[in-house]
Subunit: 210 residues, 2 copies
DNA sequence: GAACTAAGTAAGCGCTTGCTTAGGATGCCG
DNA sequence: CGGCATCCTAAGCAAGCGCTTACTTAGTTC
């Protein structure tokens, strides 16, 4: 798979996933910001860069967004909301603890690969948010923690998981999936669903008695 | 444990671990850069900030380093060398595959917690290096990959590990340890050695037959 | 057609940044 | 004591940054 084409795929996916960001130029700016922030980092990205990516003048950004920070805030908000929706949907799919764990970890890992650029932004650039925004986003991140932890508790209560340290294991599982965004490359040899399958398998091993 | 005191501990550890960076003002600048880059990110850190942290004028930085990028390069170099040394020492400690795996993963995870600020810099800011420097550092990172992979191969060959996908599992194990630098807080409830122990346990579970 | 709205531009502002230059201070050595 | 090396400073430069302002254009409504 050609990398430029894969990047185009990610843009297309974002256009679809973020179709409710309107008007269209505002959405295109937000997606351009994701690309730029993901590639260069928030502070190394200029508003001129973002504007140029969508064929606007630098002042065009301010027609739709109050500031550069607002772009980041919006990205973090929509990115976390979407990943939480994906996570919760995966958790709700099965009542069987082992299947549930496979679904939760497998799909979350795949999500981080599929949307690796926004995932990178929401995981590594969020510290550049204004304090109030950071607090809000941190709370959303904590929600993910709770979903994974509930999945482990479910398995322990059902007597099929052996997890001596639920918070620690939950943190490790979440950590595994989140870090996919750092190392994943569309030019790499593993497709998102393969990563998901591998991680689901490893998660199951982590909760079983030795 | 008080956070400011713990940060001071990290500075002291770095003063000791980096004692061969001379003269002393050069070392103090490098450590100040680690703190600043770790807290704010490379691009959001000014040379004035770094200089001020060690009580120098902004021009003082250039007495010892050619550029801001050279600070980052040096940090990445020394950080990776030290973590590689730690990793290899852990791998060499035992000939028993299971113990070796516990040592490698447990101590690497603990290292990322203990030195979480430089670890954060070398994992998340390296993309801001000049291209030639980035290539060099990327090769060092690849060395870590090889150590972990060799550990898995050792166990598989000895017939005590069940790892269908060695590269993938190696990547996941490395990913687990590297991501400690992102989430670890000295104010958190887990000490580095506790994290190491938890991760060693999870690693062992990941390589055993289900 | 006039008024308004939405979306955008060109120009520019005030400030910041990484870095350079010219010079200074201190300590050491012959 | 003079020369040199080391370590540093004050001042300033050129470029760039996020953002503002005054204006333009196109579309819509009455």
């Amino acid at each position: 798979m050609d990398t430029a084409a894969a990047d185009l795929d990610e843009v297309e996916m974002l256009e679809r996933a973020w179709h409710d960001v309107t008007p269209a130029p505002a959405r295109r700016l937000l997606i351009a910001a994701v690309q730029a922030f993901g590639e260069r980092g928030y502070h190394a990205t200029t508003t001129r860069d973002i504007a140029t990516r969508v064929g606007m003048s630098p002042a065009g950004v301010y027609v739709h967004y109050r500031s550069k920070e607002e772009l980041l805030y919006r990205i973090c908000l929509i990115g976390h909301r979407h990943s939480l929706v994906a996570l919760r949907a995966a958790a709700a799919r099965s009542g069987d603890p082992m299947t549930q764990l496979r679904d939760v970890i497998g799909e979350f890992a795949a999500w981080h690969a599929l949307f690796h650029t926004p995932a990178r932004v929401i995981s590594y650039e969020l510290n550049h948010l204004d304090p109030a925004h950071l607090t809000e986003i941190t709370a959303l991140r904590h929600e993910m923690d709770l979903v994974v932890r509930a999945t482990l508790e479910h398995g322990v209560k059902a007597g099929v998981f052996d997890v001596p340290d639920i918070p620690g294991t939950g943190l490790a599982l979440l950590s595994l999936t989140v870090d996919v965004a750092r190392w994943y490359r569309t030019s790499g040899r593993r497709a998102p669903e393969d990563i998901g399958a591998l991680y689901a398998d490893l998660a199951v091993r982590m909760v079983q008695a030795r």
